[in-house]
């Protein structure tokens, strides 16, 4: 490529019609769901935003010293204290009378497990912070160890499938109920497969005065064992099967759900991922686990009322369908 073409590409990059908060050149794997999720969240929140980022993949791949992919002020915290740091930033901004928004980000390890106490404190004190958890359902950064977010029967390096057990024995922690018990103004789940819905929820979380929580389902091609090209497909199937319910809660009550018009069997979701491949060996044990996972999805559909037939099946505010001319995600 000629030098002037490169320069014009660079000019084009600087002249993008919307704010791009997470720049190219980061070191995430091909097709990383978390990189996509972080991009979408930062773009919806920015540019006037400060990010406090717990240890994890996101922190590692965006900031290979001495460079950064972030185009907003960003601070790395320990694994457990991103909510505490965000609380402090928010208090300082408040004291200065500034309106800059604060977003804390963490993975499921930093949120479900290690940072849960600090998160609970932040929510209890109702800091005006949006906490975003990118849920890829294991400790991916350190080599795919199970977390309390890892779904039942999924295989990780610390919950291997074998003679004794079919992957993780325990269930995925019901974090949303814990969040709901804090009665914060706004909490929601979102998915990288539905960007306009995700952006809408980020903006709502930031508009509302007080603590907000957003759980973003973010497939990990490396840890889940699927092709990077399938990241959005896998995330979409998690929603369409009922495995990952898409909810909005205010003060702990579910106020909106993304309805599923055509509910798909969970096997459609599971069979794309190596972490569930042991469930397809036709053994009686595997059959039990498949049925168990189907029952868990059915349970979600039932308790949250996910089955819907409205013409607006994917999104509580306009279907995620394409329009000629774009800018639908806006």
């Amino acid at each position: 490529m000629a030098a002037d073409e490169k320069a014009s590409l660079f000019e084009l990059r600087r002249a993008q019609p919307a704010f791009r908060g997470l720049e190219a050149g980061h070191l995430a794997c091909q097709g990383c769901g978390q990189a996509l999720g972080a991009r979408l969240v930062t773009e919806a929140a920015g540019p006037d935003v400060i990010v406090a980022n717990a240890t994890g993949c996101l922190e590692v791949f965006t900031t290979a010293w001495p460079r950064t992919a972030w185009r907003v002020p960003w601070i790395h915290s320990l694994f457990e204290n991103a909510p505490a740091i965000a609380s402090g930033i928010e208090a300082a901004l408040k004291a200065q009378g500034r309106l800059t928004k604060v977003v804390a980000m963490g993975g499921d390890g930093g949120t479900f497990d290690i940072g849960l106490q600090a998160l609970s404190g932040m929510l209890e004190r109702n800091h005006n912070v949006l906490y975003v958890c990118f849920d890829n359902e294991a400790y991916m950064n350190t080599g795919i160890q199970r977390s309390s977010s890892t779904p039942h029967a999924a295989m990780t390096t610390t919950s291997p499938a074998g003679k004794a057990r079919m992957g993780k024995r325990h269930l995925k922690k019901d974090l949303l109920s814990i969040i709901a018990a804090h009665h914060i103004p706004y909490a929601a789940t979102a998915s990288v497969a539905y960007p306009s819905d995700l952006r809408k929820k980020v903006r709502r979380g930031l508009e509302i005065e007080g603590a907000a929580f957003l759980l973003v389902h973010s497939p990990c091609p490396l840890g889940w064992g699927h092709d990077g090209a399938l990241t959005v497909e896998v995330a979409r199937l998690a929603v369409e099967t009922g495995v990952f319910p898409m909810l909005e809660m205010e003060r702990g009550d579910v106020v909106a759900v993304m309805q599923i018009r055509n509910v798909r069997p969970v096997t459609d979701y599971l069979k794309l991922q190596d972490r569930f491949s042991h469930l397809f060996d036709e053994s009686p044990e595997a059959r039990v686990e498949l049925e168990h996972l189907q029952a868990l999805a059915d349970h979600h559909i039932e308790v949250y009322g996910l089955r819907g037939t409205s013409p607006d099946p994917r999104d509580s505010e306009g279907a995620d369908t394409v329009r000629r001319g774009g800018l639908r995600w806006g």
Binding site: R13, P47, T62
Partner: protein, 570 residues
């Protein structure tokens, strides 16, 4: 700050842009890549299906924003959209990928809307008048094939003389298609506008009567023959014909031109083509109490293969039945029952076209299924052939012109043929396509350029689209006059309004062509898809930045229209 290159950015960009620490843009993650995304234009099924060569996907994309540009796109292939939007059997809709999702896009109604808009607003055809010293080409026959050839030759800078045997241009559009399907005013206005691109029309000039082919060959650089097929084929049942036998096309043309019909009570029309069905409906509109259409093929409908179905358009057959025409399908005439030379009935037998031991399909009559149908007239409408008078030299003993891949009559250099006069011709849209292809071939012939062997690329299938991004939407409702309100003059199909057309065009999947939906730009985890407000060199609004693209393939997978393909790194 005078930033020119990415490396400048690493050291100087600050707040609101890049941090002091240096941007990750210094890390060229593109070198991880083993496959790369590229934009690929793929043919849409509607494009490949159109006999006239239209690309509906391309003009549907423009309809809402700029109807005139959409029309210009449309007439770059087919100069008669107001006509074909009404009379074509629209195979584009049968092939439409949307038809396998919910219902096909009502392409014909949009085509007609654009054609009508152009007539109403007087939009000029996108063609400059040929210069006075342009090379000259003769076109014989001002039907759809001849008009299309003349138009496309004129666009290519040739001076065209269009010879027409009748006093007015239009061919069968004017002489054989009843007004309830194709109003006279539409034919007249569309053709008048078309001719104004600089085509010289010479009416009342019949080949063999007013001029001879050899003279045309001398005076013009090339000749396109599109005389149509207007001579009714010989018909009899076992050598027997009734005394007052009239041919179907002849009756239909007579009624269309002078409005008279013989007095009939009970009629059997033999043949399952459009002439037969049109005539049956005209007879019915004119008060004939009982009209039968007899065909050894099946009536068209879902699940009936085109091989087995009557050649008449399915919607015409449906409307004819609504109007009281009786379709006796899968029947053949075995005997005429005569009193003297007057028909009093026909003997029918069940028939079906079945495969023969030699691999061909032939109608087989089933013994023991004979019935008698009492009628006072039979009218054969079993197809027509070229009237050979004046064209014996190029037609030989054939009933139609045999042409090569270029449309050139075999063994006759510089003489091309198309439309109904060509072996295998059939519909108005086929004729328009013949005219366009012949114009291209004549252009190559005159310039001495060989035909580049170019197989049409296969169209993109529904499996290559990502349907997750499309929502179900009902097809625009096409309104027809109720059967009791119909007559031989008033147009039966109502047009769509501008709002309906806009909504309908939005239903297009844009198969194989970028629709600027922003999916790739939104979903790239590496921010390696850049959007440009100007059109990129490939016609889209997106550019891949291969410095950073890791080649994950997410954009290709999530592209709704199949416009992105992953290819191996060079």
């Amino acid at each position: 700050m005078g930033l020119k290159t990415p490396s400048d950015a690493l050291v100087t960009l600050t707040r609101g842009a890049f941090a002091h620490a240096g941007s990750s843009l210094g890390l060229k993650t593109g070198d991880w890549r083993v496959t790369r995304p590229v934009h690929v234009h793929r043919a849409s099924p509607c494009h490949n299906a159109c006999p006239a060569g239209e690309n509906p996907q391309a003009y549907l994309a423009l309809v809402e924003e700029d109807p005139r540009a959409a029309w210009s796109k449309l007439v770059s292939a087919n100069p008669l959209p107001a006509v074909t939007g009404r009379v074509c059997h629209h195979p584009c809709e049968s092939e439409c990928n949307r038809g396998r999702f919910d219902e096909p896009v009502a392409i014909h109604a949009i085509e007609r809307f654009l054609g009508d808009q152009a007539i109403e607003h007087g939009w000029d055809y996108p063609a400059a008048k040929p210069p006075p010293d342009a090379l000259e080409v003769a076109v014989v026959g001002a039907g759809p094939a001849g008009l299309s050839a003349a138009y496309h030759l004129s666009r290519r800078g040739y001076l065209v003389t269009l010879f027409e045997a009748r006093s007015e241009p239009g061919g069968l559009l004017r002489s054989a298609i009843p007004a309830y399907r194709l109003p006279r005013s539409v034919v007249e206005r569309e053709i008048e506008r078309l001719l104004s691109v600089g085509i010289r029309l010479e009416p009342n000039r019949r080949l063999g009567r007013d001029m001879i082919l050899a003279d045309l060959e001398k005076s013009f650089r090339a000749v396109f023959l599109a005389p149509g097929a207007e001579r009714g084929r010989e018909w009899s049942v076992g050598g027997v014909v009734p005394r007052d036998l009239r041919n179907g096309l002849e009756l239909l043309q007579e009624w269309i031109s002078i409005g008279s019909l013989p007095k009939y009570e009970r009629v059997a029309i033999i043949g399952g083509g459009n002439t037969s069905v049109d005539l049956a409906r005209v007879l019915k509109f004119n008060g004939v109490p009982e009209v039968h259409v007899i065909s050894f093929r099946t009536r068209p409908g879902p699940g009936v293969s085109p091989d087995e179905a009557m050649p008449a358009l399915a919607r015409e057959v449906k409307q004819a039945i609504e109007e009281g025409v009786i379709i006796d399908d899968c029947r053949g005439v075995t005997r005429l029952i005569l009193r003297g030379e007057q028909v009093v009935g026909v003997e029918l037998v069940h028939m079906k076209k079945l495969p023969q031991p030699d691999g061909t399909r032939k109608p087989v009559a089933f013994e023991g299924t004979e019935t008698v149908l009492r009628v006072d007239h039979v009218i054969p409408a079993i197809g027509e052939e070229v009237e050979p008078f004046g064209m014996e030299a190029v037609l030989g003993a054939n009933r139609f012109f045999a042409v090569d891949a270029e449309g050139q009559v075999q063994g006759c250099r510089g003489i091309f043929a198309g439309g109904d006069a060509r072996l295998g011709g059939g519909t108005v849209s086929d004729a328009v396509g013949d005219g366009r292809r012949a114009a291209e071939a004549i252009d190559r012939y005159i310039r001495g350029v060989a035909l580049a062997a170019k197989a049409a690329p296969p169209s993109i299938g529904i499996g290559e689209l990502n349907l997750n991004y499309f929502d179900h939407a009902p097809r625009a409702e096409i309104r027809f006059l109720a059967p009791e309100e119909r007559n031989a003059e008033a147009e039966i199909e109502a047009p769509l309004g501008a709002g309906e057309v806009a909504r309908e065009s939005e239903r297009c999947f844009s198969c194989g062509e970028c629709m600027t939906c922003d999916n790739c730009w939104t979903l790239c985890p590496d921010n390696a898809v850049l959007k440009t407000m100007e059109t990129a060199s490939d016609g889209s609004h997106y550019v891949f930045d291969y410095d950073y693209c890791k080649g994950c393939g997410l954009c290709a997978r999530e592209c709704p229209v199949g416009f992105i393909a992953m290819v191996d790194e060079p």
